[in-house]
C-alpha cells in the first residue's frame, strides 16, 4: 500500500469544481435565477386556486386515464393530505417533480434519439448513464450546492441527473427495437432521416419512451427527500425535519403523502398514452384542456406580476434576498435563530433549511466572491480558522449564553464497563485543543489520523483522562456522533484514547435525533457531542430519563449569526427593516 503515494483524486475533483465555480459564476447564477423563477411561478399557479380545485382537477385526470377507482383514490388521498396540513408542501413537491420531469424530457429524449441514430454517441453516453445511476445521489448535491447555492435549484438539478437515465435508455431502446423491416420499408420509399424518425420510429417507440418517462417521474419523486438536504422545500423537507427531530408521527404523515402522490403520478403517467376513457372523449381535448389550465395561468403569472418593490441597494436584507442560511431543520441552532428572528422583528426574513455541510459550502462560495451572506454559526468550528468571520452582536441574547458540550452515556454503561466509563467521565478539553484537530481534518487529514496525532502530541492531557484506570480487554464501546466538524474531532480523539486503552471502539455517524435516540435506547454506549443548554435542548427534554449526563467535556461554545468580516453590519439589530 505504501509503495504508491495516494492519488490525490479528491484534491483534483475539488480544484476542478472550484475552477468551474469561479469561471462559470455568471452562467450558474443566471441559470439558478431562471429555474427559480420558473419554479416559483409554477408553485404560484398550482397554489392559485383553493386546494379543492386542484384536488378535483387531479381526480378528473386520474379518473379519465386510469378508471374510476383511481379517481376515487386520488380524491380521498389528496383530501387526506390536505387535511394533514401538508398541502403547501405537496404543491412544492409537485412543482419540483414537474419541473424535474420537464427538464428530463427536454434533455433525455433528444439525447436518446441522437444516441439511437449514432453508435458512437451511444457508446459515449452509455457509460456516463451507468455512472450517473450508480453514483450515490448525495454526491451530486455537493457540487450542485457550490454551483447553484442551497435551495430548490440544486435539488431539481440533482433530480434531473438522477432521473434522466431511464428516459434516455428507453428512448434508445424503443427506437432501436423498431423492426428492421419497417426501417427498410421507410427507406425504400425514399424517406428522409427526419421523416423516418417522426413518421415511423418515434410513433412505434412511444410506448417504450413513455415507460421511461414514467420511471423518471418515480425517480424524481424519490429524490425530493434527498433534495431537501440542500434546502428544497416540500414533502421531502417535512420528512427530513421529522427524521432530525425523531418525530415518528410527523414523519409517517409526510411519508404517506409522498406515497399517495407517487401512486397518483405513476398511474396517470402509465396510462397517459391510452387513457381508459380515451374512446369516450378524445385525449386530444382532455390533455389540451389540462395543458391550457396549466399554461395560461402560468403565462399570466410570469408576465403579469412584475410589481416587485424596489429597495435601496444599501440595505443588507436586499443584498442577501432576506435569507439567512441555516443548517439541519431539527437543530437547536435553528430554533434559536427562529427565536432571534422573532425577537428582532425580522418578519420579511426567511431561514433557509439545509445541512451544516450545505451551509459551509454556501459560505465558501460567497466568501470567495466577496458576496454578502448571513449564516447560522457556532464555535468551535473550523470556518473561523479558515475565513475572516464575525458573530453579529446579540444584544437581546436570543441565542442565549455560551454553551457546553456534554458527554452522555446510556443507562447501565457504568456497571457494564466501569473503566471506559471513568475515561469518558474525565474527558475534558479546551476549544483550542479541539480546533487544532479540526484544522488538521479540514486540511485533508483523515479524522482518525488527526485524532491520533493530537493524542501523541498531548500526552499530558490524555494522561489526566486515563490516570489510574485499568486497561480494557477488548470490550466493545460504541460511540455515536453527528457529522459536525467539532464532533468528528472530539469523538475521534476520545475514540483513539479508548482504543489505546485496549477497547474495541466503533464510531457511528448519525443525525442529531438518532444520536440521542441511539444512546437512549442502548443501541449506542456513549456520545461526546451533546450541546447544552440550547442546541440539543429538545432532545434532552425528550430523553432526559433514559440518559446519564456526565457533564461538560468542553466549555465556551457559542451560537449566533455569522457574517464575513467584509460585511458592513455588526449586530443582529442592523437587519431590522427600519
Amino acid at each position: 500500500m505504501d509503495l504508491l503515494p495516494e492519488i490525490p483524486l479528491a484534491d483534483w475533483v475539488d480544484s476542478f469544481v472550484h475552477w468551474i465555480t469561479i469561471h462559470f459564476q455568471t452562467f450558474f447564477s443566471s441559470l439558478t435565477q431562471i429555474i427559480e423563477t420558473l419554479l416559483d411561478n409554477l408553485v404560484k399557479v398550482l397554489g392559485m386556486a383553493p386546494s379543492l380545485v386542484l384536488i378535483l382537477l387531479i381526480t378528473i385526470l386520474a379518473w379519465y386515464t386510469s378508471r374510476w377507482t383511481m379517481g376515487l383514490f386520488s380524491l380521498l388521498g389528496l383530501l387526506l393530505v390536505d387535511n394533514l396540513g401538508l398541502w403547501d408542501a405537496t404543491i412544492n413537491t409537485l412543482a419540483l417533480v414537474l419541473a424535474s420531469v420537464a427538464l428530463t424530457v427536454i434533455i433525455g429524449i433528444p439525447l436518446g434519439i441522437w444516441a439511437s441514430q449514432n453508435d458512437k454517441v451511444k457508446q459515449i453516453i452509455t457509460p456516463i448513464l451507468d455512472f450517473m445511476q450508480t453514483m450515490p445521489a448525495f454526491v451530486y448535491l455537493i457540487p450542485a450546492i457550490l454551483f447553484f447555492g442551497i435551495g430548490v435549484v440544486p435539488g431539481i438539478l440533482a433530480s434531473v441527473i438522477f432521473a434522466v437515465p431511464p428516459t434516455i435508455r428507453l428512448t434508445i431502446l424503443g427506437i432501436r427495437e423498431v423492426p428492421t423491416e419497417l426501417i427498410e420499408a421507410s427507406n425504400a420509399f425514399g424517406s428522409t432521416t427526419w421523416q423516418r424518425l417522426f413518421k415511423v420510429q418515434l410513433p412505434l417507440a412511444a410506448p417504450t419512451i413513455l415507460a421511461g418517462i414514467n420511471q423518471s417521474i418515480m425517480l424524481a419523486l424519490s429524490m425530493v427527500v434527498i433534495a431537501s438536504l440542500v434546502g428544497a422545500p416540500g414533502l421531502g423537507a417535512e420528512v427530513y425535519r421529522a427524521v432530525s427531530q425523531i418525530k415518528v408521527g410527523a414523519g409517517f404523515e409526510a411519508g404517506l403523502s409522498i406515497v399517495i402522490i407517487a401512486i397518483i403520478l405513476d398511474r396517470i403517467s402509465q396510462n397517459l398514452r391510452k387513457p381508459v376513457y380515451g374512446k369516450t372523449i378524445s385525449k386530444k381535448y382532455v390533455y389540451g384542456l389540462f395543458a391550457a389550465l396549466l399554461v395560461i395561468p402560468y403565462l399570466v403569472t410570469s408576465f403579469g406580476g412584475n410589481t416587485t418593490e424596489k429597495i435601496s441597494p444599501n440595505n443588507v436584507g436586499e443584498q442577501v434576498q432576506y435569507e439567512i442560511t441555516g443548517i439541519d431543520p431539527g437543530a437547536g441552532l435553528m430554533t434559536a435563530t427562529a427565536k432571534a428572528m422573532k425577537d428582532y422583528n425580522l418578519k420579511d426574513w426567511k431561514l433557509k433549511e439545509g445541512s451544516s455541510a450545505a451551509m459551509t459550502a454556501e459560505l465558501q462560495k460567497a466568501y470567495e466572491q466577496k458576496q454578502p451572506i448571513i449564516v447560522t454559526g457556532w464555535t468551535p468550528h473550523w470556518m473561523f480558522a479558515k475565513y475572516k468571520l464575525k458573530y453579529l452582536k446579540d444584544p437581546k441574547e436570543s441565542f442565549g449564553k455560551s454553551e457546553s458540550i456534554h458527554t452522555i452515556v446510556r443507562k447501565g454503561f457504568k456497571e457494564d464497563n466501569p473503566n471506559a466509563y471513568k475515561i469518558l467521565d474525565s474527558f475534558y478539553w479546551n476549544p483550542t485543543d479541539m480546533e487544532e484537530v479540526m484544522v488538521d481534518i479540514q486540511n485533508g487529514a483523515k479524522p482518525e489520523e488527526a485524532a491520533k496525532k493530537w493524542v501523541v502530541h498531548h500526552p499530558d492531557i490524555v494522561k489526566k483522562w486515563t490516570q489510574g484506570v485499568q486497561k480494557g480487554n477488548g470490550q466493545k464501546v460504541s460511540l455515536v456522533y453527528v457529522a459536525w466538524e467539532s464532533e468528528i474531532a472530539s469523538t475521534n480523539v476520545i475514540g483513539s484514547v479508548l482504543k489505546n486503552q485496549g477497547y474495541n471502539v466503533t464510531l457511528k455517524q448519525v443525525e442529531a435525533g438518532p444520536m440521542f435516540a441511539g444512546v437512549a435506547n442502548g443501541s449506542a454506549d456513549a456520545m461526546v457531542a451533546a450541546w447544552f443548554p440550547t442546541t440539543h435542548k429538545d432532545y434532552l427534554n425528550t430523553y432526559k430519563n433514559q440518559l446519564v449526563d456526565l457533564g461538560p467535556n468542553l466549555k465556551g461554545t457559542k451560537l449566533g449569526l455569522v457574517v464575513p468580516e467584509y460585511m458592513p453590519i455588526n449586530s443582529i439589530s442592523d437587519l431590522e427593516n427600519k
Partner: protein, 401 residues
C-alpha cells in the same frame, strides 16, 4: 430491347476487410475459404444481368444464396461493395442521398416478405406512405392510395389497422402501398413466402393478372422453384452469392447449367412446367380437297391409323382414320365428308398436366393448334410419358418464347 435495369459486376462483401476478400475472390477462393481467411462474408459475387421493361424477373435461390442482398442493392438499402447498377441508364451507385431518394420515390418501390406494414397507421395511411413523404397534398394522395387499394381488392378496409387483417390481405396492403407510388419498377422480396400455399397461389394469379394491365418491371425474389417457374418470364438462379444460370423457366428445366441446377429442379413436377410444345411431334396431314385414297396411302406408308385434315391455310378441320377412309372409298365420299370433326385439341402452351387430361378423354390422337386453329403438331402418348420420366430425348429443344 433496351433494358430497364442493368446490373454490372455487382459484388457485396460483408465484414471488415472487403478489399482482401475481393482479391481472394478474384483468385477463385470459395465463399467458405474467404470467410475463414478474412472473416468477410460474400453476399453477392460479381452479378451481371439485364432486366427488360415489362418482364417479371425472378431471382431464385435457397436461403443464404444472396438473393435478398442482391435485390436490396437495386435500391441501395444495402450498399454494393463494387459494380454498377443502371436504372434507366443512370448509375444509382454513384448517386448522392438526394438523387437516391428521388429514385426510391419515383422509380422503384418495394414489397416485403413479412409485409413491413406500419402497425400504427391504418390501411389507407399505409398505402399513402410513399406519397406522404413526397409531401403530396392530402386529398391527392388519399385519392391515389384509394385507387391502388381498389386495384388489389381492398376497398372497404381503409380504416382498419394491419393487425386486423389476414396475412393475404396484409400483403395486398403492402402491394397497394408499392403501387400507389406509381413506379415503373417493383421489387418483391419473397413477397408471398409468408402466406399459406392456397393464398400464395391466388396472389400469384392476381399478380399475373395485374401485370397484364400494368406492365411493370418486376423483380421477384423467391426460394420456391414452383413459384419461380409459375410467374417468372426469366429466372436467375443463385448459389453462394453467384448467379449460376439465367434463362426462361423452360430453358432452365431443359438445359440445366450444371449439376447443382439439375439437382435443384429434380423434384419439380414436370407436368406443371413442360408444355405441349415440348413433346409435340410433326403431325401428318392431308388437305381437305384430296381423296380418301390418298389419305389411306399416306397412312399405309407412314404406319399411322389416322391422319389430320387441314385446309389450305393449315387450319385443322378434323381427323380421318384408316377405317373412315376405307368406308369413304366404298361410299365414294370426300375426305371432308368422311372425317370426324369432334377432336380434342390443345395449344402449344398447354401444360403437360392438362395435356394428359386431353389424352385420357380422347381415343383419337390429340392435335396441337395455335390461336388460329392451325395445326402445329400431334401429341404422342409415349413422348409425354418419356418427358415426365425426365428423358430428355423426348423433349423438343426449340424454344417457345
Amino acid at each position: 430491347m433496351k433494358s430497364k435495369v442493368t446490373v454490372k459486376n455487382v459484388t457485396k462483401i460483408f465484414g471488415k476487410s472487403p478489399k482482401n476478400a475481393i482479391k481472394l475472390l478474384q483468385k477463385g477462393y470459395s465463399k467458405s475459404e474467404i470467410l475463414k481467411y478474412t472473416g468477410a462474408t460474400i453476399g453477392v459475387n460479381n452479378a451481371s444481368f439485364e432486366i427488360y421493361p415489362g418482364e417479371i424477373f425472378v431471382v431464385m435461390g435457397l436461403s443464404g444464396s444472396g438473393k435478398s442482398t442482391l435485390i436490396r442493392m437495386l435500391n441501395r438499402l444495402i450498399e454494393p461493395t463494387g459494380g454498377q447498377i443502371f436504372i434507366d441508364d443512370e448509375d444509382i451507385v454513384k448517386m448522392n442521398t438526394q438523387q437516391l431518394r428521388d429514385v426510391r420515390r419515383k422509380k422503384i418501390s418495394m414489397v416485403f416478405q413479412n409485409f413491413a406494414l406500419f402497425p400504427h397507421k391504418t390501411v389507407l395511411e399505409n398505402a399513402e406512405y410513399g406519397l406522404e413523404i413526397q409531401n403530396i397534398r392530402p386529398e391527392e394522395r388519399k385519392k391515389r392510395a384509394q385507387q391502388s387499394l381498389e386495384i388489389v381488392g381492398l376497398e372497404g378496409y381503409e380504416n382498419q389497422y394491419p393487425s386486423q387483417l389476414s396475412g393475404g390481405m396484409q400483403q395486398r396492403v403492402g402491394l397497394a402501398r408499392a403501387l400507389a407510388s406509381d413506379t415503373d419498377i417493383l421489387l418483391m422480396d419473397e413477397a408471398f413466402s409468408a402466406l399459406d400455399p392456397l393464398i400464395r397461389k391466388d396472389m400469384q394469379d392476381e399478380l399475373l393478372e395485374l401485370q397484364e394491365t400494368m406492365k411493370k418491371t418486376i423483380i421477384f425474389i423467391t426460394h420456391d422453384l414452383d413459384e419461380a417457374l409459375r410467374i417468372g418470364d426469366r429466372i436467375a438462379l443463385m448459389k453462394d452469392g453467384s448467379i449460376i444460370q439465367i434463362g426462361s423457366p423452360e430453358e432452365i428445366m431443359i438445359n440445366p447449367a450444371n449439376e447443382y441446377v439439375e439437382r435443384f429442379i429434380e423434384d419439380v413436377d414436370l407436368s406443371k412446367v413442360l408444355m405441349a410444345s415440348h413433346v409435340q411431334k410433326r403431325a401428318e396431314r392431308i388437305m381437305s380437297d384430296r381423296g380418301p385414297r390418298a389419305a389411306l396411302q399416306i397412312m399405309r406408308d407412314q404406319g399411322y391409323s389416322s391422319i389430320f385434315v387441314v385446309d389450305r391455310k393449315q387450319k385443322l378441320l378434323g381427323v380421318i382414320t384408316a377405317d373412315d377412309a376405307s368406308n369413304a372409298i366404298k361410299e365414294n365420299k370426300t375426305v371432308e365428308e368422311a372425317m370426324q370433326k369432334e377432336i380434342v385439341t390443345v395449344s402449344e402452351d398447354t401444360l403437360l398436366i392438362h395435356v394428359i387430361d386431353a389424352l385420357a378423354t380422347s381415343v383419337l390422337p390429340v392435335a396441337v393448334v395455335d390461336a388460329e386453329k392451325r395445326l402445329k403438331g400431334v401429341i404422342i402418348r409415349g413422348a409425354v410419358i418419356g418427358a415426365l420420366a425426365g428423358n430428355k430425348e423426348n423433349l423438343n429443344a426449340k424454344e417457345v418464347n
